[in-house]
Amino acid sequence: MAGSPGQVPEPDGLWQGPMRSETPNSLKGATVVDTDAFTALRNRAQTVVLDVAPADERPASMPKDMPWMPLHRSIPGAVWLPGAGSGSADPAFEAAFKTEMERLTAHDRDQPIVAFCHPQCWGSWNAAKRLVNLGYRHVYWYPEGFEGWQNQHDTLVIEEEPGWETTIHAARQE
């Protein structure tokens, strides 16, 4: 099911299988970038760099006095929307994602957007796929993700994009 490197076919729609497994090498309608190409792309002022890596969750059984201090390291300049790579077909989730991306791109479907999370992480594939489906014309997918970047460049601790949690929470309530 998980497939081998280089042999994973693109699903027709969004991926709803295990989020951490081998991914395809391609994404129809989007451009796959390696670290060098990503770096060049990132240096363009207009590019939205989208981090969809999930947030760490505290195990319920962890003792209360055990310090829990999650921190999210990312690529400098990235916007972090944890969970935005979900393959959910829930219309409320789709609407929340669409609204957030329109806000980040000021409704400009020509604005370049590059999605990433980690290696072998379907979240960024899904997010890029969703962007293509929403009509964005310059969508990029950076499958090497945070680890690929970290091997060559400095990282930065960033916070979740303000409002995203509220948006996504509201979507789930509907």
Binding site: R20, D56, P59, P70, P119, Q120, C121, E147, Q150, H153
Partner: protein, 274 residues
């Protein structure tokens, strides 16, 4: 003789796949990065309140391999000065969400000269070893570790397989021990230590966290050490440790996990015949 005295555990609490940075171009992202220092100050305050740790290599030193073949098993070596009144040891992985990977409290039967462990490291991070002395003084050593992704790496087997033999406790001891003369031992506990961030390869869901919370080792009535862990302990931890064998001693190992399961096993100390 305690050169090889080990206390080994794995550490981790994170969420990404296996990747290791080995040949790295130089960049500023190292232990002296101001943001990383700020993170440590925050952790220090959370764990120790107003007390702060001072580096002193004559008491504690830390070595962590940057050339680990496997980010889930980054070798870490801690050396403690046994002449210093060391009460306990914290092993902290700064960037982990649960930064305290291990907290050891040593008892009168401990001989904690060299501690070795293998840790899982998620992103490039500072790692701290903090020795707490009897008077509460804190002494630290720090190391920047460039390995990443060892945290949500699947165990390479189904959860069912990973659960097999849970609670099995084994101990390797030096062939002969002499009461009062430091000896080394290696403890192996079978436990998947699911950190809640690994994905079941069969069901595709996240495996709920289930992990060892304490390991207590005594020799007769004397404590060797208590180890408190959390989701940071690796699967099937291997814990090497030094001890001072007690006269007519018997090692007892007690393991408790987050599901309130308890395992216990005793081992006779093999004594020298002459």
């Amino acid at each position: 003789m305690m050169e090889g005295g080990l206390i080994g555990t794995g550490l981790c609490a994170c969420a990404s796949l296996l990747m290791i940075g080995i040949s790295l171009p130089a960049h500023a992202d190292d232990s002296s990065d101001p943001a990383r220092e700020a993170r440590w100050i925050e952790i220090e305050k959370t764990i120790f309140g107003s007390r702060t740790a001072t580096p002193d290599e004559t008491i504690v030193s830390l070595d962590a391999s940057e050339r680990a073949e496997d980010a889930a098993l980054v070798p870490i070596a801690i050396k403690l000065n046994v002449k210093a009144p060391v009460k306990g040891l914290y092993v902290v992985v700064d960037d982990n969400p649960a930064p305290i990977a291990a907290h050891y409290i040593f008892g009168p039967a401990a001989y904690p000269e060299a501690i070795k462990m293998r840790g899982r490291v998620n992103s490039y991070t500072n790692m701290h070893a903090v020795a707490e002395l009897q008077d509460g003084t804190l002494v630290e050593a720090v190391r920047f570790v460039k390995a990443s992704g060892g945290c949500s790496a699947p165990m390479g087997m189904s959860d069912e397989e990973a659960m097999q033999g849970i609670g099995d406790i084994r101990l390797k001891l030096a062939e002969n021990t002499v009461p009062g003369k430091p000896a080394e031992a290696t403890l192996m506990v079978r436990h998947p230590n699911f950190n809640g961030m690994q994905m079941d390869q069969d069901t595709h869901g996240y495996t709920p966290a289930r992990y060892i919370q304490t390991i207590r080792v005594t020799d007769g009535d004397a404590l060797v050490f208590t180890l408190s862990g959390d989701i940071s302990l690796a699967s099937n931890p291997v814990i090497g440790f030094g001890l001072i064998p007690q006269p007519a001693g018997q090692l007892t190992v007690m393991v408790d996990d987050s599901e309130k399961a308890h395992w216990e096993r005793s081992f006779a100390l093999p004594t020298a015949t002459n």
